[in-house]
Amino acid sequence: MGKIVLVARLAARDIRRHQAQAVLLLLAITAATTTLVLGLALSGVTNHPYQQTRAATNGPDLVVGYGVNLGPTFGVNLNPTQGPPPVSAAQLRADTSALTHLSGVTAYSGPYPVASVVLQTHGLTVPVQAEGREQTPAAVDQPKLTSGSWVRPGGVVIERTFAEALSVGVGDQVTLDGRPFTVAGIAVTAAAAPYPNCSLTNCMFTGPQTAPSSSNVSTLNVGLAWVTEADARAMASPQAPLSYVLNLKLKNPATAPALVNQIFAPGGVGAPTSAGIDSVNSWQAISSAAGELVQDEQSVLKAGSLLAVLLAVASVAVLAGGRMAERTRRVGLLKAVGSTPGLVAAVLVAENLALALVAATAGLVIGWAAAPLITNPGAGLIGTAGPPSITLATIGLTVALALAVALASTLVPAIKAARSSTVSALADTPRPPRRRAALIALSARLPVPLLLGIRMAAGRLRRAVLGAASIAVTSAGIVALLTFRATVDHDLGPAAGQVGDPVVTRDTQMLLVLTIVLVALAVLNAVCTAWATVLDFRRSAALARALGASPRQVSAGVAWAQVLPAVPGTLLGIPLGIGLFKAADHGMMTIPPVWWLAAAVLLTLAAVAALASIPALLGTRRPAAEVLQAETA
């Protein structure tokens, strides 16, 4: 018990004496734990809002799209001038009857005609599925108005996420298929995933389809709107024939996925696929597609928390290494009065573990508080996600992560310090820089600032490696952001006059915030590393000035001591960042242009040099004589 009290007392006193370092350590670990908590808090965040939307709209359990023969290119019409042939009226009636009489179906609405048209407004051109509806409420899937009124002749109701992407509101004028319409209302539905993911479920555009980034209308993202049945039928054409949508309610909603399989099984009403039934989606599939906005965020946050953890480890290792050097005499004292190496190591590690626990708590609190900012399920669902789910597993994982970061960074230095000679520890002689003969010889051929910088970096190689690792992690984050930007611009971005993707917008914002956090941590790290170098080499720097180096040359040397390890770190960040993006997003990827990467490398190195120059200039303000006399005393 006495040992525990001693360890706790020494740890607390030390934290009080070095508050600035403790705060820096806290910040580094808290950044890592907060991003982890945010990532974990996003799990299942859209389930509740989707259920709320289903309840409010009497959402269907199955949504069937049918009525055109899409053939072997199921869902994609590659003919630029002619739409897929519609099925006959008899086939349509037969399919409707077969579907509404499936075992387990208790109610239905439709079939509703769906026109595949182009909406134009505010200079934007977007493909839209315009579903024809009665003006009276439907028994199954009656979209809930969030503003305005329901469909009327010449009036269109637009799905809420789609309306936000178009920046249209009630009363605005749009054209559908060249015909003028007034926006009568904005609504949400549980029968389709919110824009732009409607196309992942049942939104089939039967008009001519082209790839994104072409000058024609991109049909990758199809919007959803409702018009009167008469208006929908009037917009049909041979190039874009009407399709139909049927909403089914089941006795047991949980069986919806099984029924989908049954429909498309051999002998089922939807087999073979050359018949007129083109898509059948369960409410579970729609719910999942509705959650993609948040799922993408979660992928980004998980990748980001990995980077933040790595950066935290590097930062804590630099800070902890410096603190170990200051505790040499304390180690000697403890050993001189009878402490075992184990107890000495425990004293050295205890304060970092205590700070890690505080950081874990801070991460949980900040993550819980900030989660509502990112758990917004999007405009396409009503209701909120409710308080984020901070489960026991989340708490356990966060605490374990914080402790692991602290241990990984401090255990080895603590054990080495505990095993050092008691006599030399009591003498508290400064640890001399390591001799690297090859680097010393190389530096003799270089200009004075590089000569000094190389010798400083070589003298503390572990710190240089940690600095490089920290820059590599930050660079990876920046490159991942650039890769995302390049991918969006090339593959996912809208062509001129087309609507942006809310998922892309949200991911961009999330990546930007994460990159700012990483950069902030890296700035902290760079300044701390440079300051540690200044302190470590103050005698050598004073001596160099006594022998003829100018203060500017010495400051430049300190800056070079940080920049030189940053070069391989920045370059390593390029493949790391691209790999990280690939691992987080298994879809399309475009490598950023070379000049983007070069600019990122140069700006990073310039930032490192600038940040290092602050402690360097502060360090050379003290007269050399003072330093040398202090060292002699």
């Binding site: 001399p432 820089p433 390591r434 001799r435 690297r436 010393i440 003799a444 051929r445 200009p447 004075v448 000569l451 010798r455 003298g459 005698r539 050598s540 001596l543 160099a544 000035r545 006594a546 022998l547 003829g548 180096a549 100018s550 203060p551 500017r552 040359q553 007269p623 050399a624 004589a625 003072e626 040398l628 006399q629 060292e631 002699t632």
Partner: protein, 249 residues
Amino acid sequence: MNTIDAGAYVLRTRGLRKEYGREAGLVRAVDGVDLEVAQGETVAIMGPSGCGKSTLLYLLGGLDRASGGEIWLDGQDLTQMSERALARLRRDAIGFVFQAFQLMDELTAVENVELPALLASRSPRAARKRALDLLEQVGLADRARFLPTQLSGGQRQRVAVARALVADPLVVLADEPTGNLDSAATVEVLRLFDQLHTAGQTLVIVTHDPRVAATADRMISMRDGAFTDQTMLQGGTSGRLGSLAGLEG
């Protein structure tokens, strides 16, 4: 008796002051010092600990800024110089020898000696050659590749002297060069200073060791930041005082 050519002063000060603190806490470490050092002269400044000898030396070498007065080195006013200009002066015209040697522990003897030449942007080859020549001069040619921790105290100080001479300076400033040495090492270093004196090197040595002072042409006593008296030493190291120092004439 040595004569001093009044028109050939390498180093001159007028009313030199260095103060710390303010008002009731004001400390005058150097208090109105007038000094003139001629070319080829060896001047020893003696005084008790804390009298301001080392502070004076650092002011003369431009390592610290004076609070008042003038310092002239080879006709240049140090008090008006920028840090950059002072650094250039230390590279080209001043050599320092410190009490605690102040060698870089991770550099070998020859790497320590060539350092000022590299800082002056001389070619590595020329710097290395000069360093080896100087180590030979101080009797340490066979220790060129040794680290400081592998050298005795006297050897380390001889390496430091060699380093001070690399730029062929106008003046060598030595701060208690034998302060950390035993008797035998002290004699080694004294012999070295004697050689430098004979070769015409201008030296200003701060010491509280009379054996070191005995090697000089002139000894100045210092107390409480000011010079109190001055003694011209007859015969220098070849005289009676020189034999007392253990140096044979």
